[in-house]
Symmetry: D2
Subunit: 290 residues, 4 copies
């Protein structure tokens, strides 16, 4: 007797575009008894690359994961396809890095606590001691104080990698971490690390972007969440947003408004990633929003 309980899977694929891909995949899934509940696709005409995100349900007892993996391996050979399969039963393990400013950390933890953000936070790393977050309840999430100086940076980063490996984190979130990662660490994290840049890129790179915006007299400020790659501040953009400012806003007002933009932009980007809505495509992203 088969259970009625369904398991929900998300598969993302990319491959060179040619006729028959959707037919091939959807036929394969139908054969396995899967019911497609969401599907989004995008054909990039420049590179002739095809991207797709499919959410499907499958009776829990009918088909196990290895059968699905076999099918996608077969399709991958047929269509020269990269693919990634996840199930919503398992929450992605996430490591959060933070510095002095904790508004993004507080926001992410709150969204996690009330069940809005389906992540499993496996660690919080800061270059500041636990004491400065004394008002925050980490609720059992391991906290790691990793102070950093120019001299100790290599070993501090080695420790970050060790914590990643030990905790099994698949995503690192730089929640206003404020430390420039070494080129080596950036490369290693490429595609599985999201940063919030406290400015509207490509407008104001570098330090103190809100003060730059004030000096330039712009009428809108923004924030940018992007994947970390070896190019500092140049990684593929996942999400951006802005707020209106006026001549009467001081740099402090800009920083205040910036906090609001930063936390909502980062939270959206993390959600897009864990729901497999964001897919890296060279210097850009595909983001299949709902």
């Amino acid at each position: 007797m088969t259970s009625n309980v369904n398991t929900t899977y998300i598969v993302t694929i990319s491959c060179p575009n040619r006729p028959g891909i959707v037919a091939g995949i959807s036929h394969g899934l139908a054969e396995l008894g899967a019911n497609i509940t969401e599907a989004q696709q995008f054909d990039e005409t420049e590179s002739r690359q095809f991207f797709m995100r499919i959410v499907f349900e499958i009776p829990q007892d009918a088909t196990d994961r290895s059968v699905l993996e076999n099918e996608f391996s077969r399709l991958a050979r047929e269509f020269s396809m990269s693919w990634s399969l996840t199930t919503t039963n398992v929450r992605p393990k996430v490591l959060i890095l933070v510095s002095r400013f904790d508004h993004c950390l507080v926001d992410l933890l709150y969204r996690w606590r009330i069940g809005e953000l389906a992540i499993d936070p496996v660690g919080i790393i800061s270059n500041h001691p636990r004491e400065i977050y004394r008002h925050l309840d980490f609720d059992g999430i391991p906290f790691h104080h990793l102070p950093i100086t120019p001299v100790t940076k290599p070993e501090q980063e080695a420790r970050i990698i060790q914590i990643m490996d030990e905790s099994g984190a698949e995503l690192v979130v730089l929640a206003r971490y404020m430390q420039i990662l070494s080129n080596e660490l950036s490369c290693r994290l490429s595609g599985r690390c999201i940063n919030i840049h406290h400015s509207f890129l490509p407008g104001f790179k570098g330090a103190r972007p809100y003060h730059q915006a004030f000096a330039r007299g712009v009428k809108l400020i923004g924030a940018t969440a992007h994947y970390v790659t070896s190019d500092l501040d140049e990684g593929p953009i996942i999400e951006q947003d802005v707020e209106r400012i006026s001549h009467a806003d001081t740099p402090d007002d800009l920083v205040r408004k910036g906090r609001d933009i930063e936390r909502r932009v980062l939270a959206r980007a993390v959600r897009y990633h864990i729901e497999r809505r964001a897919i890296m495509n060279g210097h850009k992203t595909i983001v299949f929003t709902s």
Copy 2:
């Protein structure tokens, strides 16, 4: 020898959801040599109804339209499916109704003239004479002055229907037409007529909504484009937008800001319709935006 020229088709379908729909359709299209370039789907969980929009290319000489129609008729029987097939080669014929305020008319005609809006305007109907639009170049689009009084309303509406039929218009746009359609005409136009309501629905129905907004002291005003149905101001909403206002804005300022919102909301709604992105679903719409 087969030409390399492709014809682009858009098909929209809806049917009760069950496994195998995507596989069936994509298989059928692949068999006919079609290359799917865009596909968006939505499963409404409440009604268990499935909606899909597919854009596909097919070599011009390989398959003619009747073959496609046969295939979709076959699929329609298999999946109890409603479907609609159009080609981007033929611009949809559109009839525009307008009253005294011509900002939406001017905007639509401009977008059409520069090639932004792929419509074929087959007529402009107004209850005001050509003279009040003397600054506008209608560029050969037939203009019909149909004055209206409570007494002549039935025959005026009969004349509108006659012009629709004669011109072959498949879409009627009420570009601030300001006349309440009879229940009979509303029903007849249901699903193929778009109205712009100069307010953010469901907030302010009825007359002079911006003045109502002023009296209530709201901080945002908006506009709503919706399909016309027999329910006045209650038809399925296609698009909405808002702008911020303050205590210092007079009713005239609200009307001015409202014009900007109205014209962009209506233009988007018309584009969604002619690109088959908007699909009516009972009292609501599915809108597959890019």
Copy 3:
């Protein structure tokens, strides 16, 4: 010897409009050695009522508050003027009422903790026990669990008034309090109580507005912060904001997006109030934003 330290005052005034008001007030302030750093005025043409907000600095030792009060009393007689004088040296005492959903409470406390919101929280009242907020550090703010039933409502509200009086709270914030205040309490709090209505008014009044929005198929949802008056959901609107939604958003998605809108709209409204930027004007507000 006089200190160089300045005290900053904010005065808001309203009176029937006539020539000479600005001259009279600015002359009076100049005589007392005040330096006006911000001034905003609004003449409501309908009611011929004049509103003004002035921020001025005055050397701390030169003039004490009673001298200023005498001057404004004199001006009040001359211009039939209502006025209110506060200093930024003293943070306004605020009482926060909350129910099960704590996102607005968490947000307000965070903004207070980092110094963004210059309030003095003197109490938190909930109809739920302290336990459900166990993850929150109230940092010494007295917490009052006041359960409520239809039978105990009068005494529960009496207790709220008692806490207000004892704590000296000048502002009550209903941070998703979810209880309908009695007409008596509403009247008593009129003008010094801010509510967040989890919907874009006047669109969806009453219960479960996001579900109403879903059922109606709107494309934008919003939230409204307003002063509490005896008219439920009809008090003067201070601030509103919206976010875009689509057919693919479930009621849960709307509630999620709604939380983000609610907390930023409420935080802005509280800031406008405590900085004396929001002034009630009958059924509306004047809001002198920066």
Copy 4:
């Protein structure tokens, strides 16, 4: 016998900040029988500079303009004040420069025609012949076809200056003019020429900014209206706005959305200028929006 008709004036002033300015000005205006209907001020704390915009009414027969000018000259001496006085009775003369893309021109002319934009267009200059605007009714506004080549640029610009002088234009609007002004002309027009930059500055300077935005994969595009100064693309920003884009938007889609942003941003900037709401302040602007 004195008429009841009022004349409305707008005065903008700037001067070093010190106590007594508002008192001095408002006293002076009260003495002349003026009724202040709007007043906005801003103290820039960095430069200690004071800015103010005052709208006042004065009975038409009571005081003529020269009396007002004498009074402001007197105040200017007292407070080391720059000032500018205009009356809403006289519409500012405006010269519009345009190239191939006419969406901003069409938009400005429409707003002028329906009375929304209180300008007096005294000329349209294009480097393209009248023929390409054949669908547009210029309604008697003189049109000047001034073709331009690298060789003829100096004389073409001399002709522009001549037309400005002869027409008495006080404002030049570059409505997507697409020609880089010489340094000499830029300096000459400094502060009385508004340009629309078809991008969100400072993000994408230079040519084809929407294509740059596409290549970078940003999620928002924008437009910027700024005063022309000798710094190309670096003049004081008056207004900016953005729209959301996605991976599915082609460069053509960005250009389409860009047109909508450009025309509303430019129209707002022109309105701010002619209502004397925008005041240049070094590399920035003060914009007293309503």
